[in-house]
Amino acid sequence: MAANNRPLSPHLQVYKPQLTTFMSITHRATGIALAVGTLMLVCWLIAAATGESAFNEVQAFLGSIIGRLLLLGWSFALFYHMCNGLRHLFWDTGKGFEIETAYMTGRVVIAASILLTIGAWLWGYAAMGAI
């Protein structure tokens, strides 16, 4: 195709990696991960509607090491996507585009998603009676 011979503008690799660009692609990556992770929620609800043995199988998988690692990843992805989504909604009002503000809100989002993930897991283990 002739279109393939057109000159291209400089691509990502000519730019220095920055917090803002890293957070932007992470928002997209966590969004995709959450879409996939939702399949587990669907399985969990369908299993609950199917019967006790199906439900216990799904629960056993979620409670295994692999299941817990996936849940840890999904919970962080969820908190990150939600916090950074609120940052996006703030941007949608036309505010917060100054460089210092964009970096400040970015750091707040990262700190909040890590703290929320830790808090949710502590709560879960406490509910189980493990701590």
Partner: protein, 125 residues
């Protein structure tokens, strides 16, 4: 220079007013998802370790069933809107782009229906 199409000029009409429909739906579902997911994650955290009967009793509570159905609709609508943009950005073969977006939309509807059916079955069962 005008960017209006000849047909648009002849008709003298403006845009179809639907240019931001996708963008707007993504924002509206995002706003809806914040309280729904905070509620859902908090409920799940508090319920860790619950057995089959306890989980079914929880799902069957009317307010919980309603919240779960709303969550399902918002999640799948938001997810398919987002995945559509990702596919539009990265898949450059036209037929593959259209096919993959179609699969995502069909899957989103199918999974949402299966999830809602499961919730309703437990709630009414």
């Amino acid at each position: 220079m005008s960017l209006r199409s000849p047909l648009g000029k002849v008709r003298g009409l403006g845009s179809a007013k639907e240019g931001v429909a996708h963008w707007w739906a993504q924002r509206m579902t995002a706003v809806a998802l914040v309280p729904l997911l905070v509620w859902f994650v908090a409920s799940i955290c508090a319920m860790i370790g619950a057995d089959y009967g306890a989980v079914r009793d929880w799902i069957a509570t009317p307010m919980v069933s309603i919240m779960l159905v709303l969550l399902t609709i918002a999640v799948f609508h938001h997810a398919q809107l987002g995945l559509q943009v990702v596919l539009e950005d990265y898949v450059h073969t036209e037929w593959l782009k259209i096919a993959s977006i179609g699969i995502v939309k069909f899957a989103a509807i199918g999974l949402a229906v299966a999830t809602i059916f499961s919730i309703v079955k437990i709630a009414l069962g």
